[in-house]
């Protein structure tokens, strides 16, 4: 099932960066990579309750701002201690300058 939600404008996120998006009691991190691809994951680090939108995007890796747990943005895969549980990922599409994420 598809359920697309308008998250932000494409230019709300700087290149190689991330912002927080909250919707219906859930929190997400929306990413823009250097090549202008957009991705979305669950907002909180799977290691501790810290928001990933406060973290650093390097290439396709997001690093948790507190403990440097690392995740691969496109797949959500945990890449480094102390993070060992993968992030949930969500489909993303860009239409008319807006970024939509699929919560279906």
């Amino acid at each position: 099932m598809e359920h697309w939600v308008d998250a932000c404008a494409v230019n709300d996120i700087e290149e190689e960066d991330t912002i927080r998006f909250d919707h219906a009691g859930q929190s997400f991190a929306i990413y823009r990579l250097e090549d202008d691809r957009y991705f979305a994951t669950g907002g909180f680090c799977t290691h501790e309750n810290v928001h990933l939108a406060d973290g650093l995007v390097m290439g396709r890796i997001i690093e948790c701002p507190k403990h440097n747990g690392r995740f691969d943005i496109p797949t959500g895969q945990a890449k480094g201690a102390p993070a060992c549980i993968n992030l949930r990922t969500f489909g993303v599409k860009v239409e008319e300058g807006r970024v939509f994420i699929n919560l279906g």
Partner: protein, 418 residues
């Protein structure tokens, strides 16, 4: 060809460093026996929550296990709880245990950690001064905290201040006494320490700086901390966070050099090529800071050194060169430091919407960065500064001071990220 079976790797100490080393050995495909010796009865757990969420969680918490429950068994790591090592026999490559048995090792890692320095004052022991190191200590403290409790915190370092913030959240009436002229010591720049002190005071914590203590005395309802100027600070409970002493006794008894910690080289090897040390217990030379010998008491360092030691145990030759990084949470703000601010001889301030972000330079070379504020304004730039310090960068001070210049632009060439 006949080969002697590998007796395996023994790790003494199941804190962050020792446990990370064990897990990393398996990540690196070491297939021999690994024995992890823990002094406590719990499975290996993370210490950072002890002064924070363990104190403030509504329900009594369980330890946060390193790597999650079941990890050690799944990785075929033999964990022995509550069975401490009593002696290392280097000639026979054996560790003797309290239960009278001995373990042979092919390589040995000492990750023995540190213990709290006790308060050297008359009356401290009799009046039940509390300390924080283990989960048990943390639960004992948690069980004392209650609304209206008068808590005296001796020592304005990371642990003392975090405990103060947590106790305040639990409704206690908190006073911090720091004997030095200011809280947080020389590891934290004075400007940042002043911001931290201001936040604590604004939250309702009393901080007394620059005054000595002479005794702890019993009172009809509680006790009193006697200050050097004769003032008395009445308290129902006292916690001391006045530093830690590295656990070096086993190494010393085995004849290994100790110099404010078990002395290791850049690979984290002791003088005995089969024995290594990592974490709070070891003193090591740091190549980024001209080989300055450091001993760090920090979660991240323990984790990084544990991982590095695993490589060295397996014969890797790289030197440990990770730039130090500390963080501390207080009242919802975060203090983060990368590098060694006290190595600097010039400070450049970047104003990020009113929050000072400090860069510390030594002869133009970036050696540290520090800030205190909301994690979203602090963490990324501290992390980028860490990468710049590691690369030996000498960024233009005017550009560092300019908040519109992104730190990422200084990273040339871009750091490779796996």
């Amino acid at each position: 060809m006949q080969t002697t079976p590998d007796p395996g790797i023994v790790i003494i100490g199941a804190g962050e460093a020792g446990t990370r080393a064990a897990l990393t050995l398996r990540e690196k495909h070491y297939a021999g026996p690994i024995t992890l010796l823990g002094a406590e009865s719990h499975l290996p757990y993370e210490r950072p929550p002890l002064s924070k969420t363990v104190q403030t969680a509504p329900e009594p918490p369980a330890p946060t296990l390193i790597g999650g429950a079941g990890t050690l068994a799944a990785q075929n790591i033999s964990y022995r709880a509550g069975n401490t090592a009593t002696r290392i026999d280097r000639a026979s490559q054996e560790v003797h245990l309290r239960d009278g048995t001995a373990l042979r090792y092919s390589r040995l890692l000492l990750a023995t950690g540190a213990r709290p320095r006790t308060l050297p004052l008359p009356g401290a022991e009799q009046n039940g001064v509390l300390y924080l190191r283990s989960f048990g200590d943390a639960m004992a403290l948690r069980n004392r905290l209650a609304p209206g409790l008068r808590l005296a915190v001796i020592g304005g370092g990371f642990i003392g201040l975090e405990m103060a913030a947590s106790a305040l959240e639990r409704g206690c009436d908190v006073t911090v006494v720091e004997m030095a002229p200011r809280i947080l010591g020389r590891a934290v720049p004075a400007q940042i320490a002043a911001l931290v002190a201001a936040e604590h005071r604004a939250a309702g914590i009393t901080i007394i700086e620059g005054i000595g203590l002479t005794a702890i005395e019993q009172r009809p309802n509680g006790c009193a901390v006697i200050l050097a100027d004769g003032r008395e600070l009445e308290a129902d409970a006292i916690i001391a966070g006045i530093g830690a002493i590295p656990e070096t006794a086993l190494a010393e008894a085995a004849g290994l050099p100790v110099e404010n910690g078990i002395r290791v080289d850049g690979r984290l090897a002791t003088e005995d090529p089969l024995i290594f040390a990592a974490g709070d217990c070891c003193s090591f030379p740091h190549p980024v800071f001209s080989g300055r010998r450091l001993r760090l008491e920090a979660w991240r360092n323990a984790q990084d050194q544990g991982r590095h030691a695993a490589g060295s145990l397996l014969g890797e030759t790289a030197a440990f060169a990770t730039v130090p990084w500390f963080w501390s949470d207080q009242h919802g703000s975060t203090l983060q430091i990368s590098g060694l601010p006290d190595e600097g001889n010039q400070t450049v301030t970047r104003d990020i919407d009113g929050m000072p972000f400090l860069f510390h330079l030594r002869d133009g070379c970036l050696v540290g960065a520090s800030a205190f504020g909301p994690i979203g304004k602090v963490a990324r730039d501290i992390r980028l500064a860490e990468m710049l310090i590691e690369s030996g960068a000498s960024p233009d001070p005017a550009a560092l001071a300019n908040p519109s210049v992104k730190l990422k632009t200084f990273l040339q060439p871009r750091a490779a990220v796996a």
